[in-house]
Amino acid sequence: MNINEHGASIRLEGCTKTFADGTLALHPLDLSVQAGETLVLLGPSGCGKTTTLRLIAGLEFPDDGGRILFDDEDVTHTPIEKRNVGMVFQSYALFPNMTVAENVGYGLKVQKVKAAEVKQRVSEMLEMMELGALAHRRIDQLSGGQRQRVALARAIITSPRVLLLDEPLTALDAILRDRLRADINSLLRRLGITAIYVTHDQDEAMALGDRIVVMDHGRVSQIGSPKEIYFAPQNDFVADFIGQINTFEGQVSCSDMRLPGGVLSGVALADGQGKVYCRPEDIEVINSANAGLRGQVHQTQFIGDRNRIWVKGANHERVVIDTDGRSEFKVGQEVGLQIRPEQMIVLDRRAESV
């Protein structure tokens, strides 16, 4: 099927967005997306991710001074209907007055493609999305997952330069979400289209994104590959927001951090008050007798592939640790904790002060 065009690269330059009521939704934003890349905008609600998407779509326009470019074409003032973007909405926005086939073919009809060709391309698209049997159904006769696929088919059939997805899986239940996430992933790879994907779900972001833009309060917190975001957060917000993490904070002298349960050694911080982060899976539980840092098991939870335990007394807050699923811990048991220096996350001070 001839929808495999590589799409446009996108560049946002100094895009600020102030809403009519005076709220500053987006601080000056510079962002560039390569052609064919899948970029995920991730953050809590109100962080500006949807505003950014709507600016790229042409549903909102940046304040004066901001520029948006598709390849090298300035589209800052081009309305959405002339930008040639495909969009999948959280509520799908399928037309209730049209059948599945009419919905999917609408974009082609607007482009004045001949009826016979529309029919041909729609039926190919419906086959590809496994919707062939539903062509003549009404939208209200479809399940959530089917609607989502129709919305996707409708958005990509016109070979848009950019595909924009606004929390497309949020309205679905968990099992369906996992399956469709995999479907979307393989579709995006196959099409090689430039895609911007907005979500507040970090699993979705990790699974789909070539790069992730973590946003907070209208600013970009960090841009990076999923691994960079997870293993090398640049600031407190990203560290806290992405995945489970433990925060150790205390007085450091000669690379030793003093904590309530003893000493955490090998901390790559200068003397004085300091802070390091550590992922639950990077903490090792050892015999308490020869450990520098000790605590008691407060709670355990068997999750199948791992045992998650909470240890109190070692840190100011409870330490979350993921251990091998076959390990056995009893509540109240005395344990020692060990963290290898390379697995401690020390924030780049410069990044934090930005």
């Binding site: 009519a20 779509a57 549903l59 309305p79 959405i80 209907e81 002339k82 040639n84 973007v85 495909g86 969009m87 909405f89 509520s91 799908y92 926005a93 399928l94 037309f95 209730p96 007055n97 609408y106 974009g107 607007v110 482009q111 009404r138 209200d140 409708r154 958005a155 016109t158 924009l164």
Partner: protein, 263 residues
């Protein structure tokens, strides 16, 4: 299943109320079809009076239809876009206007008519034209059209639907025709039936605005009651009912259809 005494009493009461309301209608219809009402049905049934009314008042019937259709046309052209504008606008004035537009419903028709006469009665030729009544009817019925369409627009997420259409390349006009109008069809239909019903049956306003040459059905009806024999007036009522009943049923039908999902 055995019915209790109280359910029989309820049924009887309901039937009594129905009879109370229907008997005058039936009597009136009967009066329009009997030779001599004072002698009763024994004088025989006839369509003579109906024919006489049609001969005397056929122009009022045609004018009524013409007015109703013209009112409907204007309401469709003005009311649907107005409702769309009100629904899309966030401005405070749009809300104020939404309330203002209902005023003609609350103000007595006579007062509106008088205001219209004072304001525009002097415009050359307007006072004697049927267009003057048309203005009154539009003022009176437009709120119903706007309200019916607004209600549907508020219940569907039309902004997102429009954004969806826009993302597929549809410009404003195209979106309005392809997506907005079809999805508030229910509201448009019920608003249209309401407009026709109200326009056909409107008396207060029309009575003040009419001239001997621009009489509508209800005005003619009053005229017949005042000056004709009872059989003719009753035959007139019969014709009026025949015209209005399908519209009323239509309003009920469209209302119940709209309340059901996926209608």
């Amino acid at each position: 299943m055995k019915r209790s005494l109280s359910s029989y009493l309820q049924l009887a009461f309901t039937l009594l109320i129905c009879a109370f309301m229907l008997v005058p209608v039936l009597m009136s219809v009967a009066a329009g079809l009997t030779n001599n009402y004072f002698q009763g049905l024994s004088s025989g049934l006839t369509l003579r009076w109906v024919e006489e009314v049609l001969a005397l008042y056929s122009d009022t019937i045609w004018l009524t239809l013409q007015l109703a259709l013209a009112t409907l046309l204007i309401n469709l052209i003005v009311g649907v876009p107005a409702a769309y504008y009100l629904a899309s606008s966030n401005s405070r004035w749009a809300r104020v206007f939404e309330e203002l537009i209902v005023l003609p419903v609350a103000i007595p028709g006579l007062a509106i008519a008088l205001a219209l006469i004072i304001a525009y009665g002097g415009v050359h030729g307007l006072r004697t034209s049927w267009l003057f009544i048309l203005i009154g009817h539009v003022l009176y019925t437009l709120p119903f059209m706007v309200r019916a369409v607004l209600a549907v627009l508020h219940s569907i997420n039309f902004r997102t639907l429009e954004e969806g259409a826009a993302s597929l390349g549809a410009g404003f006009f195209r979106r309005f025709i392809d997506v907005v109008v079809p999805n508030c069809k229910g509201g448009i239909i019920s608003g249209a039936l309401m407009t026709l019903t109200l326009s056909v049956g409107e008396f207060n306003l029309t009575w003040m605005l009419h001239t001997p040459l621009t009489k509508t059905l209800p005005v003619g009806l009053a005229d017949a009651y005042a000056s004709m024999r009872l059989e003719i007036s009753s035959a007139y009522t019969l014709i009026f009912l025949v015209m209005l009943l399908p519209l009323m049923i239509g309003v009920q039908w469209s209302g119940s259809r709209l309340r059901k999902p996926h209608a």
